[in-house]
């Protein structure tokens, strides 16, 4: 957030009193700094419900408070504080948000109609904030945001008689908040067990610290280049993306000989790699960096030159990525936006991979569902009722879902057509004929015709002992179905695929697409595909990640 309102004002040093306009700027600064550090607060959440949204809740509460005052021309401090309290109350989200709004409420009440705030008033207001917050609960738990509010009120009471400078007092209050936050694990065992400080208290600290940073003219929108306490270092997403030049993750703990010159330290590290994070605790620094292979030992050599290295951990990220690739990629598909008046297609997809394929072909909405997980009519209608068009085509992609799709057509006021695809390959074949700007009836007809141009094979396992069409199947055996009909039971997946393809006369077709399921590894699928390619040399064999449950493979033969 870069804004003229956040320009430094340190030149008016020292500040003996502040008015409503100044409070407005301080609230914005507190909100901005809290938002910058929102994720840090979120990751601290262990109490009382481990849902990890304290930071978000506090940001939303402060945002509501700021929204209330952002256009106000009020100069009276007390009146502005009342507006803040009102906004915070209306927007209070979650436990921490409610407590925060109570703090603002008490703060505002102490000041009522005060035109400007002086240090003695601040001390009084913080005390009232504390009292109001404590009244809201029968059994106050110490080691939470309440304790931090209590400690800063005590500090303000102590310091306000000896200094008239607002900056001075705010600085002391922020320091007290920091100390109080660091002390929370000593008061609340659950925090100690989790090895974190209290999240709500930390959020309050960021709000106050943001105000101080603003007055000092420090940046509020970037949290890099700073040292965070060790307990707060979280190396999230180290597995998600590995960019070029991030071959290894190196973590070094060291004790510097002299105090660390951070800009120089960061500057040197930036020559070596990326994703730099530095943490500190009890004089030990922890450095986290991603480096390319040639620089593998550089961070260690460098830290050895400036201090004593106590511990080194190295992980091969490329290898981790490869392992991760084995698992099914559950990324949600990105569907194409639809223009008003165009034809939108809703596809029922039994797996994330299949959904992505449909999305790449231009469907506008995806509904999860398939064998043994039929979506309800409501789920289908909900998927398309908000699309900005009246022309909807549903691809059920399973014969058991055609009924629900038809029901969705009945209940919707939109012009809905169901193209009765009985399988994923049929649905995909139909998608190939979609012309979003075409004539609705014509496109539907074309898509229906396309259904029979593809053969569908499915490899799954038998859920019970049965004999159908002369094929004897034991429970748990691998079975192959061609266009819904049981054709054989086989000892393994690969043989099932081969007999399926020969039954389907795949040699007379051009393209064989294999969608491998959630319980098949990528490498496994690739080696099976290679063997199939060897048997069907004139056909193109493609492998796609399907992620569908139950079915080892869904096969399209076209």
């Amino acid at each position: 957030m870069s804004d003229s309102m956040l320009a430094p004002i340190s030149e008016i040093n020292p500040i003996k009193s502040i008015n409503g306009r100044m409070l407005q700027k301080l609230i914005k600064a507190g909100l901005t700094w809290l938002r910058t550090n929102q994720q840090i607060v979120n990751t601290l959440n262990v109490f009382p419900v481990p849902d990890g949204d304290t930071g978000t809740n506090m940001v939303l509460t402060m945002q509501a408070a700021y929204d209330e005052i952002k256009d106000s021309k009020e100069t009276n401090f007390g009146k502005m504080a009342h507006l803040v309290a009102h906004g915070a109350l209306m927007g209070a989200r979650g436990n921490s948000g409610v407590i925060l709004s109570q703090l603002w409420r008490g703060f505002a009440r102490a000041l009522d109609n005060l035109p400007v705030l002086e240090n003695k008033d601040l001390a009084r207001a913080l005390a009232e904030a504390r009292d109001t917050a404590y009244k809201g609960v029968v059994r106050p738990v110490e080691g939470t945001i309440l304790t931090v509010a209590k400690d800063i009120a005590a500090e303000a009471e102590l310091i306000s008689p000896v200094t008239e400078d607002f900056i001075d007092l705010l600085e002391r209050v922020v320091q007290a908040a920091d100390r109080s936050v660091q002390n929370t694990p000593a008061l609340l065992p659950i925090l100690k067990e989790a090895g974190v400080v209290d999240s709500g208290g930390k959020g309050l600290y960021f709000i106050l610290d943001g105000m101080l940073r603003y007055i000092k003219g420090q940046a509020l929108d970037i949290s890099i280049g700073t040292v965070q306490p060790l307990s707060e270092m979280v190396f999230l997403n180290t597995l998600e993306t590995v960019e070029p030049g991030q071959d290894y993750e190196v973590i070094v703990d060291f004790r510097p000989h002299n105090s660390l010159d951070l800009p120089v330290f960061y500057g040197t590290l930036e020559q070596m790699g990326t994703s730099i994070q530095v943490g500190e605790g009890d004089g030990i620094y922890r450095l986290h960096i991603h480096v390319p292979t040639p620089n593998l030992y550089s961070p260690i050599d460098y830290t050895r030159s400036i201090g004593t290295v106590t511990k080194v951990a190295i992980e091969n990220l490329v290898d981790q990525m490869e392992n991760k690739n084995q698992a099914c990629d559950e990324t949600q598909p990105i569907v194409s936006p639809i223009e008003p008046g165009q034809i939108a297609v809703v596809a029922v997809c039994p797996g994330a991979g299949i959904a992505r394929v449909f999305a790449s072909l231009g469907v506008s909405a995806v509904v999860d569902g398939g064998q043994s997980m039929n979506p309800s009519t409501q789920m289908i209608t909900r998927a398309f009722e908000n699309l900005p068009t009246d022309k909807i085509i549903i691809l059920p992609n399973n014969k058991n879902i055609i009924l629900a799709a038809n029901a969705a057509r009945e209940v919707s006021v939109k012009d809905v057509a169901v193209v009765p695809s009985k399988s994923v390959p049929q649905g995909l074949a139909a998608m190939m004929r979609l012309i979003p700007d075409g004539d609705f009836k014509g496109v539907v007809q074309e898509m229906e015709l396309a259904l029979d141009e593809v053969q569908t094979g499915e490899i799954t396992f038998a859920t019970r002992k049965v004999e159908i069409d002369g094929v004897q199947v034991e429970e748990g055996q691998i079975i192959a179905l061609l266009n819904g009909k049981l054709i054989c039971s086989c000892p393994n997946v690969e043989e099932a695929l081969l007999s399926l393809l020969s039954k389907a006369h795949a040699e007379q077709y051009e393209l064989i697409t294999l969608f491998y399921g959630a319980d098949i590894l990528k490498t496994e699928a690739a080696s099976i595909a290679e063997n199939i390619q060897a048997h069907f040399q004139d056909q193109v064999v493609e492998v796609q990640e399907g992620c569908q449950p139950h079915y080892h493979f869904i096969v399209a033969i076209e």
Partner: protein
Amino acid sequence: MSDENLQNENIPLGSIKVSPNAISNIAYHATLESYGVVGFTSKNLVNGLAQAIVKDPTYGVDVHYDGKDIDIDLYIIIEYGTRIKSVAHSVSNTVRYHVEKSLGIPINEVNIHVRGLRISNLD
């Protein structure tokens, strides 16, 4: 409060039974630690009198078990000046979390009945 026991688990050595009273107790304490709640009220006059006589530790908490689902009803008083919706929401979360954590039994519903506001300060 009914006396029937919730059968929790059957294990080869015997069974574990948890009474609704125990659940009420956990819910009661979790509620009192929730921010914004300043007290309980009774569900109705008859209950209120009975509970006042026997000093029930689970005053204002009602646990229903119909053989399948566990529902908890809380009759509470909230501090004036807090956002009632947010307070009720976090009470519900906290109680569910604590009961499920202690018992390992999923809770179907936690219903919050706000029966009054306590006014400590008027703004």
